[in-house]
Symmetry: none
Subunit: 85 residues, 2 copies
DNA sequence: CCCGATTTGTGCGTATGTATC
DNA sequence: AGATACATACGCACAAATCGG
């Protein structure tokens, strides 16, 4: 077992900030249904490894998506795709 | 009851990363038979205290050794030396 | 069956140092 | 000078799994 490699989705030389690129990719996965409502994301350190960025960058991206009501973070449990009402 | 002091095995000023030093020490104990197959390691907070490092550092070391198939981690039970086949 | 202790899982917040743009 | 990003490391709080009384 190994983590899916998502480094190819991030361009470290692009003019767009890394955390925004992570946002874009997570949004795309949610829109495509790869990340369904109520689904739990991998842990922050795991996401950092998958995307090949730091945990700091992952946290910024998550913070943004929480502000957009697309993710919900539960302390000690994990980060989840916002459930359908 | 008191925990064995393993702080002397860790050099906070060495060029080698702390979690790698912990890895080295755990590997040495396994190779020497001090940690036999199926043996349970002390809990993560206890290891952290023994080595004088954070639990985070201990977990990184454990994660590495799991990747090497030398340790097995069981939620709610403990961390064990990989059994012989 | 319930309760508490133990242990791992996860996230929160922060700090330091380095490198790059 | 400042913002962005990385890597490492620390301590803490809360959640979930397991086990024993």
């Amino acid at each position: 077992m190994s983590l899916p490699d998502k480094r190819g989705r991030i361009d470290h030389r692009a003019p767009r900030l890394l955390w925004q690129q992570v946002c874009d990719d997570l949004r795309a996965d949610m829109d495509a249904g790869v990340l369904a409502p109520d689904a739990r994301l991998p842990a922050e350190p795991d996401l950092a490894e998958q995307y090949g960025v730091s945990r700091d960058t992952i946290r910024r991206a998550i913070q943004e998506l929480v502000g957009e009501d697309r993710l919900v973070v539960l302390h000690g449990r994990g980060t989840f795709v916002t459930p359908r009402e």
